[in-house]
């Protein structure tokens, strides 16, 4: 069974440019999460989807970040415009039964804004 697939693995962009990350969760996992992990820190939740509905986006900086999960499967996270402080690893995870049963993470996208 394929795991959570993310692309691209690495992205380097200049500040003020847009960038998008893509995630394909494990088949059948209704819940999808986007996390951001800064160097030396644990992941922090940006947004959580139940099927196609964003049920927790309280930590998503909505002035520049947006996300969508059309048809309740794949998801895209976008930043426009990117700032230097957005440099981090963006992790996508999915789960079948929620927070108490563990998540499966993708390998992440390492974003560098210069």
């Amino acid at each position: 069974e394929a795991g959570v697939v993310q692309s691209p693995r690495y992205k380097i962009i200049e500040k003020k440019q847009p960038v998008a990350f893509w995630c394909n969760p494990i088949s059948g996992h209704n819940t999808l999460y986007w996390y951001r992990q800064n160097l030396g820190q644990g992941p922090e939740l940006l947004i959580r989807y139940e099927n196609e509905e964003a049920v927790d986006d309280s930590q998503l900086p909505k002035d520049r970040f947006s996300a969508e999960r059309l048809k309740g499967v794949d998801s895209t996270l976008k930043i426009q415009p990117a700032e230097l402080g957005d440099s981090a690893v963006y992790l996508c995870a999915s789960s079948l039964r929620g927070a108490n049963y563990g998540y499966t993470f993708g390998s992440g996208t390492r974003l560098t804004v210069v």
């Binding site: 820190q41 644990g42 939740l45 992790l91 929620g98 108490n100 563990g102 390998s107 992440g108």
Partner: protein, 113 residues
């Protein structure tokens, strides 16, 4: 301030030594999970503990959930270079934070051969 405090932040030991890392909180969690993350990869789930006082063993790794479900520990016996990585604890089911995992900052473990 982190909801989950992990200690130590960094640990460098020789192959064959034992070690314990800690995850502490002032909040109660329904579950506590441990993940290991290698450079350039996402975290991989090692174990989930859900009952206060629960102890789980996974080969040379022993996980314990505190009686009050506020803290946990991970003990590794006879560490090997392959154990090197970032160990993250994560709490789930905290009423204040809803149905999402909250992560600690992690413990970086380096095992030298």
């Amino acid at each position: 301030t982190q909801l989950l405090e992990q200690s130590p932040q960094f640990l460098s030991i020789q192959e064959g030594e034992n070690l314990t890392v800690y995850c502490n909180s002032s909040s109660v969690f329904s579950s506590l999970q441990w993940y290991r993350q290698e450079p350039g990869e996402g975290p991989v789930l090692l174990v989930t503990v859900v009952t206060g006082g629960e102890v789980k063993k996974l080969k040379r790794l022993t996980f314990q959930f505190g009686d009050a479900r506020k803290d946990s520990s991970l003990h590794i016996t006879a560490a090997q270079p392959g154990d090197t990585g970032l160990y993250l604890c994560a709490g789930g089911g905290n009423m204040e934070y809803g149905n999402k995992l909250v992560f600690g900052a992690g413990t970086i473990l380096r095992v030298k051969s």
